[in-house]
Subunit: 594 residues, 2 copies
C-alpha cells in the first residue's frame, strides 16, 4: 500500500563525494520548487521566487491537508521538500516522517531510541529545528546529540555518531547544515556551562573533519592570531582566554544552537555563539570572548576569517546565535556582500560579510534600553548603568531591562526579500527584572545563576511582540505590526509580495510585503513556533508550517510550569497563552483553490 | 483578554427543576443551529436540517479553524455547541474546553485529576464519547467513573459523584444523556467481569434517581415479570438469573458503554447491553440474559418496558451496545414508531420502539457468516456450527468468523436522514480467528479468555471497511463504498443532501446522500474516530470533527502495541494505519467560503 518514491531530485543522488554533494545542493537550494535546507537557500533568506500565491490572491488560501506528528510540545523548524517527498521532524523523541506528496502517505518513518533523561538538560523545551539533506541522505541532529544520516529513500540508518555528552548538559536543538561534503552542527547547553563549538563531520561516514570551539585556546578555536580579524584588525594571540578569569572558559558557554549560513563564493560559513556561562556576570569578569560573536569560517578547514562580538561580557543572556542572512545590496552607493543579524540584544547589525566590517548597528525595537547605542569605532555597545546587572551586582534585582533575556528576537528566523529589499523580522517586545546570584558549577546541573521575571514592554501596545519590516541599510523600522505575543515563528517572503509568519496563538498570517497589511489568517491547531516554507508539487505552490506551542516562550505550557519565574522567567509573561491554544504537533499545508 | 460568554441559550438557563430542564433540552435539540447532545437530538439521528452546505457546493468546503486539544490517542464523540460556545472534550485525562465561537478563545478549561492507573483497565483505548448539557451545566463522565457537573459559563465544579470503582475494572467512556431532570450514564468493563447497569442521577445534585442492572435479580434489573416484555411476551420471573449458572451473573458483563436515545412522547429511554463475561462461552452456559440486549425503560422510574436480546449466549464479543436510532416511518403501509439498531453481530434490526416487536433483522454486510439468519418468531439467530466458538470449545481456534469481535459496526454511530429515508452506516469489514480459553475471575484483572486475530473480509475488496446506505424498512444495502480501513467515525447527514463521515486515515469525506458519490475529502491531522457535528454561528453553517486515531481499531497506534494478537486481536489487521496517520487530537472546523 505504500507509494514508492519517485523523485527526480533523489534519483540524481549518486556517488557521494565532495564535488557532487556540493553541486547537488547548490542546484537544489536555487530551485524554488523544493525546500532543501532550513533557510530555503544558503543565504538563509527564507525568500522564494515562487509567485503563484500573491498579495492579490492570498486571501483565497486554505489548508489542503494536515498531518499530526503524534508528538506534543514545541515544533520548531519546518519540513524539507525534495522532489516528491516531504521530510517532517518532531521535537523529542525526534521522529522523522518521509511523506509522499502525491498521496500524503508516510513512506518511511524513523524514531530514534533516546534516553528521556536528556529532556531535563534541555534549557528551552524539547525543540528540534529541523533536518538537513544531501547526497541521498537525511541528517537528523537528535536531542541527545546523536547525529544520524538516514537513507532518504528508505529511512535506514547509514551512520550515526555522538556529537556531545548529555550527562554534562550537552544537547542539540539546531538544524545542521550541509556544505560541500561536510555537515555542520553545533551544541546547546549554555545554561549548563557547556563550552560551545561548531563541528564539521564528513557526510560520507560521520568522521570529524574539523571542530572549532567558541572560547578557549587559539588552537581549539581554529583562529590565526594574525589573519583572523575582529573590527578589521587581527585578533592577536590568546584573544579568548585572555578575556576570562583563569580556567573559566572551560565552562564558558558560547554555544552554537542557532542557524548557519554559507557563502559559496567566499567559501565562508556564518554562525553566532551564545551567552557566556553563568548568567551571573559578576562571576566571570572580562569580555568573555568569543561568546556572543558572529563568526565567519572557512568551510573546508574551519579556520576563522573574522569575528564580531556583539555583547561583550553579557549581563542579560543575550545569546548571539541568531541567523546571519546573506544579502547582496548597495551600501552607500557601492554594491556590497552584506550580512544582516538581528541580535537578541535588540540591535540589528549589518556587516560586510567578507571582512566583518561593521556598517550598521541600530535598535530594531524602540523599547531597547540596556545600551544607548553601539560605538561604530569599537563595535561595543554603550551600556546604561541602571540596567547593568554586573554593575548592580549579584542579589540585586535590576528592573525594567529591555529586551528580556529572550531578546528582541530569539531563534525565530527572519526573511529577506530581494524584491522589496526589506528584512521581515519576528520580534519580541518583552522586558524583564533580572537578579543574578552566585552559583557553583556542577557538571550536568543548571548553571544559570539568575532569577528573572518578564512582562510586556511598558508604555507600548501591551502586547509581547511585533512583526516588523526592517531596512538593514538604513537601520530603520519600515513598519511594525503589534502582536499580543512574541512572534516565535520563522518567516517566509515570496516573489508574490506576500510575507508569511505564525503567531503563538496559532495563526498563520499573510501580510503585504510592502505595506504590512494583513491579507489572510488561519488558526492552525496549536501555537506556531515553526518556520513557514513553500514549494511546488505538480506545478502548484504550497505553503507549509508546523504548529505546536513550545520553545522558550511557550515553555510554561510545554513543560506544565505555572510559577511566574519558572522556565527561566518566561512562564509569567506568557500565562495568557492557554486562553488561545493548547499543545499540539501538526503540519498544515496551504494552497490556493485549483 | 478572555471573551465573556454571551449566549442566548445559556442566558435562558434558569431555575433548574424537572420541567425546565426538559423543556430547555426539548427545544435545544430541535434547534439545528446548536448541537446539544451526542446525536444532535433525542432520536440520535445525527441529522441536521441545515442546508447551506449542499451536495452542490460542498466541494467548496474548507477548514476555517482548528484546535489542538493537547491530548493524544483516540478522540471519539464530538463537540457540543450551545449558543456561542463550543464544548470540546478529550480522551483521558478528559479535559474540557469551552471555546467562544466569536474568536475561538478558550473561555474556560477543566482538567480533572484522575489516577492514571485507570488507563490499564480501559479495554479499548482511553476514549471518551463526549459531554452532555442541561440546565446551565456541562456534564463530564470521566474515565475513572467520576461524573461531574460543571458550570457551563465558568467551568466551576457544581457537583461530582462516583459512578463506579476502577479497582474492579469499572470505567466510563460513554457520553451521558440528560432526560428531564436526570442524567443517564452507563459503565464499561465487560472485559473485566463488570456487571453492567444504567444509572440515572438527578442533575441538580448528583443523587441517584434510579439504577437498572443489565443482569441479575429482577429487583436489581427494574423489571416487572408481567409487564416487561420480550418478543411481545412478558419476560417472567427471574428471566436473567435463570439463564446463568449459579452466581455467574455477578461477574456477567452486559455493560452499557454505548449511546442512549429517548422518545419524549413514549417517555422511554433506549440503550443496549454489552457482551457477557468472559469471552470464553463455555464458561458461562445459558442465554446470559440480558446481555446483548436492546432495552426500553421508563425515563422517570427506570422500569423496563421491553427487551430484545440480539445475541443470546454470545460467543464472539458482539457487544450489543450500538446506538438505537428512533425513526418514524411507514412500515408495511402503516406509520410506525421504529427503532433501528445496526448491531455488532452484523444484523441490522428494525423494531417497533413502543412494543419491542421485531420487524426486520437482515445482514448489513454480506460477509457476515456466524449465523444464517434471525428467526423472526423467536428473535434468535441461527448459528452456523462451524463458526460457533462454543460448539468448537475452548483451546480450539475457530477460524474465519465474520464479523470480527469489533463487529460489522462498533461504537461509531450511524445517521438517519428523514429526507432520503436512509440510514448511513459506518461499517467494519473485518473477520477473525477466535480461540477461547479458560480463565478465572480476579477483580480488576482482564477477564477475557480468548485469543483473537483479525483480517479483512476474504474474497472482497481487500479493505477493512465499507460506508453504506441502509434501507431499514427493506433491510437492504442501498449502496456501499469500500474503505481501506474500518469506518470508525460517527456520521452526519443533512438537509443539504450531504452525508459526512471520517476515515481512520484521517479523511473527512462528504458524499451525496442519494448516490453515495464522493463530493469532498480533506485530510485532517490524524485518523478520525470522532463524530461529525454541524451548527451555525452568526447565520453560517459549520461542520466540526475531532481527529485523533485510537479506539479499538486504532489501539495499536494509540497504546504502542505491535504484536498482531495484542489489543484484543486488533493490532494485526490495522498495522498499515501508520503509513497514513499518527496520533493526534485536533478539532477541525469547516465552512463554505463567505
Ligand atoms: O545557551 C544555550 O545553549 C541555549 C540553547 C537553546 C536551545 O538549544 O534551544 C536556547 C537558548 N540557549 C536560549 O538562550 C534561548 O533563548 C532559547 C530559546 C529556544 C527556543 O527554542 O525557543 N531555545 C533556546
Ligand atoms: O465491554 C465493555 O465494557 C466495553 C467497553 C468499551 C469502551 O468502554 O470503550 C468497548 C468495548 N467493550 C468493546 O467491546 C468494543 O468493541 C469497544 C470499542 C471501543 C472504542 O471506543 O473503539 N470501545 C469499546
Amino acid at each position: 500500500m505504500l507509494a514508492t518514491l519517485c523523485s527526480a531530485a533523489l534519483l540524481t543522488v549518486a556517488v557521494g563525494g565532495q564535488v557532487q554533494a556540493n553541486d547537488e545542493l547548490l542546484k537544489l537550494q536555487q530551485d524554488p520548487n523544493q525546500w532543501v535546507m532550513w533557510g530555503g537557500n544558503y543565504s538563509g533568506t527564507r525568500y522564494s521566487t515562487l509567485d503563484q500565491i500573491t498579495n492579490k490572491n492570498v486571501k483565497e488560501l486554505r489548508p489542503v491537508w494536515t498531518f499530526s506528528t503524534g508528538v506534543l510540545r514545541g515544533h520548531e523548524g519546518g519540513p524539507l521538500v525534495i522532489g516528491d517527498m516531504q521530510y517532517v521532524h518532531t521535537p523529542f523523541p525526534n521522529k522523522v516522517f518521509a511523506i509522499d506528496l502525491n498521496d500524503q502517505t508516510v513512506v518511511w518513518s524513523y524514531e530514534p531510541k533516546q534516553n528521556a533523561d536528556v529532556i531535563a538538560v534541555m534549557c528551552c523545551d524539547t525543540v528540534n529545528r529541523g533536518l538537513a539533506y544531501a547526497d541521498g541522505k537525511i541528517f537528523l541532529q537528535q536531542a541527545d546529540t546523536t547525529l544520524v544520516a538516514l537513507d532518504a529513500k528508505k529511512g535506514d540508518v547509514i551512520w550515526s555518531i555522538k556529537n556531545g555528552d548529555p550527562s554534562k548538559g550537552e544537547t542539540n536543538t539546531n538544524a545542521p547544515l550541509v556544505v560541500k561534503d561536510k555537515i555542520l552542527t553545533g551544541i546547546s547547553g549554555g545554561e549548563f556551562g557547556v563550552r560551545g563549538r561548531l563541528t564539521a563531520y564528513n557526510i560520507k561516514d560521520g568522521s570529524v573533519a574539523w571542530q572549532a570551539f567558541s572560547v578557549g585556546p587559539d588552537k581549539d578555536m581554529l583562529v590565526d592570531p594574525e589573519k583572523t580579524t575582529a573590527m578589521l584588525k587581527p585578533i592577536g594571540k590568546d584573544s579568548s582566554v585572555s578575556t576570562w578569569q583563569g580556567d573559566q572558559w572551560k565552562i564558558g558557554g558560547g554555544t552554537t544552537w542557532g542557524w548557519y549560513t554559507y557563502d559559496p563564493a567566499l567559501n565562508l560559513v556564518y554562525y553566532g555563539t551564545g551567552n557566556p556561562s553563568t548568567w551571573n556576570p559578576s562571576q566571570r569578569p572580562g569580555d568573555n570572548k568569543w561568546s556572543m560573536t558572529i563568526m565567519a569560517r572557512d568551510a573546508d578547514t574551519g579556520m576563522a576569517k573574522w569575528f564580531y562580538q556583539k555583547t561583550p561580557h553579557d549581563e542579560w543572556d543575550y545569546d548571539g546565535v541568531n541567523e546571519n542572512i546573506l544579502v547582496d545590496k548597495e551600501f552607500q552607493g557601492k554594491p556590497r556582500k552584506l550580512l544582516v543579524n538581528m541580535d537578541r540584544n535588540g540591535f540589528g547589525y549589518t556587516l560586510d560579510r567578507e571582512t566583518g566590517e561593521l556598517l550598521v548597528a541600530e535598535k530594531y525595537d524602540p523599547a531597547v534600553n540596556w545600551a544607548t547605542h553601539v560605538d561604530k569605532e569599537t563595535g561595543r555597545p554603550e551600556v546604561v548603568a541602571k540596567y547593568s546587572t554586573a554593575q548592580n551586582g549579584p542579589d540585586v534585582n535590576t528592573k525594567g531591562v529591555c529586551p528580556a533575556a529572550l531578546g528582541s528576537k530569539d531563534q525565530q528566523p527572519s526573511s529577506y526579500s530581494p524584491k522589496t529589499g526589506l528584512l521581515y523580522v519576528p520580534t519580541n517586545h518583552v522586558c524583564m527584572d533580572y537578579e543574578p546570584y552566585d552559583i557553583s558549577y556542577v557538571a550536568g546541573q543548571p548553571f544559570v545563576g539568575a532569577t528573572l521575571s518578564m512582562f510586556p514592554a511598558p508604555n507600548s501596545h501591551g502586547g509581547l511582540g511585533n512583526f516588523i519590516a526592517w531596512d538593514a541599510i538604513q537601520g530603520k523600522i519600515v513598519w511594525s505590526l503589534p502582536e499580543a505575543f512574541a512572534v516565535w515563528s520563522g518567516v517566509l517572503s515570496t516573489a508574490g509580495d506576500v510575507v508569511f509568519y505564525g503567531t503563538l496563538e496559532g495563526y498563520l498570517k499573510a501580510v503585504d510585503a510592502t505595506t504590512g497589511k494583513e491579507l489572510y489568517r488561519f488558526k492552525t491547531p496549536s501555537g506556531i513556533i515553526g518556520n513557514i516554507n513553500t514549494y511546488t508539487h505538480k506545478g502548484k505552490q504550497y505553503v507549509a508550517v508546523l504548529s505546536g506551542i513550545g520553545g522558550w516562550a511557550g515553555i510554561g505550557m510545554a513543560a506544565g510550569l505555572s510559577k511566574s519565574t519558572e522556565g527561566l522567567g518566561a512562564v509569567g509573561a506568557f500565562k495568557q497563552l492557554s486562553a488561545y491554544t493548547q499543545l499540539g504537533g501538526v503540519m498544515t499545508v496551504f494552497a490556493l483553490p485549483d
